[in-house]
Symmetry: C2
Subunit: 193 residues, 2 copies
C-alpha cells in the first residue's frame, strides 16, 4: 500500500495535476483502524481528514431516547471526517466506527489549512468534497421523506450492495429510519417477488 493510490485519487478529481497530487499526498500519514474500533468518538473534536483506502466504516449518533442511529456508510475511496466538528473545532455529536478492518491516510486540521493556503487546487478539491457530501445528503433527505421504507431499502440494496456484506441489518434499519423488525418483514416481502 503506497501513497501513489492516494495521489491518483486527488488527480482523478480533475482538479489537481499529478505533480501537485503527489505533493499533497506526501503530507498524509498512514493509519489503520481495526474492525469495531473508532476513528472518532462523540465528544471529541474531529481532527483527522481521513482518506479511506480499504475497508468500510459507518457514522452513528444517538437520538433523543439514546438509541444508536447510523447516519452514514463509508466505502473505500471516500474522505471520512465529521464536517461540523472538524471545521468549527467543536465536539462531535457523531461517532466514526470501522465496520471492517480499515486502512487509509490522514492529515490534521492544521495541515489541511496549510495545504489549502498554499495550493488553490487543493482548496477546490476540499470544496468539492463538501459540496458532494451536501448534495448526497439532500438527495437522501428527499428520498427519505417521499418514499416508503420498502422503496428506500430496495434503492440502498441496488446502489450500495457492498454495505450489506459489512453491516448488520439492525444498523441498516436505523439508517433507513425503521426498526429491525420492520426491515426483516420488508426483506421477506421482497424475497417473495
Amino acid at each position: 500500500m503506497s501513497k501513489e493510490t492516494l495521489a491518483k485519487f486527488f488527480h482523478n478529481t480533475n482538479l489537481v495535476s499529478m505533480t501537485v497530487a503527489r505533493e499533497i499526498a506526501g503530507q498524509f500519514s498512514y493509519k489503520a483502524v481495526s474492525k469495531h474500533d473508532f476513528l472518532l468518538t462523540e465528544g471529541k473534536i474531529s481532527d483527522e481528514y481521513y482518506f479511506l483506502e480499504k475497508g468500510y466504516m459507518r457514522a452513528f449518533a444517538h437520538d433523543t431516547e439514546g438509541n444508536e442511529v447510523t447516519t452514514a456508510f463509508c466505502s473505500p475511496g471516500q474522505v471520512v471526517f465529521e464536517v461540523a466538528s472538524f471545521f468549527n473545532r467543536t465536539r462531535s455529536m457523531e461517532n466514526l466506527q470501522a465496520l471492517t478492518d480499515c486502512e487509509g491516510w490522514f492529515i490534521t486540521y492544521k495541515q489541511l489549512n496549510e495545504l489549502f493556503h498554499a495550493l488553490p487546487e487543493f482548496r477546490e478539491f476540499g470544496r468539492s468534497i463538501l459540496v458532494k457530501g451536501f448534495s448526497d445528503l439532500k438527495t437522501r433527505m428527499l428520498i427519505t421523506i417521499t418514499e416508503t421504507a420498502e422503496e428506500r431499502y430496495a434503492q440502498l440494496l441496488k446502489t450500495s450492495p457492498e454495505t450489506f456484506q459489512h453491516a448488520p441489518l439492525k444498523t441498516i434499519a436505523s439508517y433507513l429510519g425503521i426498526t429491525d423488525t420492520s426491515l426483516s418483514r420488508i426483506r421477506k416481502e421482497l424475497a417473495k417477488k
Copy 2:
C-alpha cells in the same frame, strides 16, 4: 435599505473585520423578488449567491411521481442559493421561490470566486456557510428518521414559527414528509392538548 446591513452581516460572523466586510458588501447588487416569483428555476444553473435581507423564501423539488416537495425554508439573514448547481455549474434540480415579497443582495459565481481568491477571510466565511448548511441538514435528517410526524411538526413550530405566517400548510406538510391531510389531523390533536 443600504449595504451597511449586509456589511454588518459579514462582520457579525467574527470572520471578517468591518473594513473588509464593507469591501465585500460593495461588490453585491440589489435584487428584489416579488411574492411567488422565482430566484431560481429547475434546469437553470444557480448563479446568484443571494443574501436575503427581507422576506421569506422556500426551496422545492419534485419527487419521482412529480409532486412538489419543499426542501427548505429561508428566512432573513440567510444566504440563498443551490449549492451543488452553483459550485459545480450544473443544472439545478431545485426551485427557489419567494413566499413573500423579498429584498436582498447578490453576487455571481464569477464575482464570488474573485472575492474568495482575493480575501482569505471571505473564503472562511464561504466555508462556514457551507458547513452550517450541511450540519443543519444532518440534524434535520436525524430528526426525520427518528421522530414521529407530530414531534417533527411541534419542533418546527417551536424553532421557526415565522415560517407558519408565510407558507401554506400543504407546503409545510411536504417539508415534514407527510400529506396535508395528516398535518391537518396532527394540528387538531395538538390543539386539544
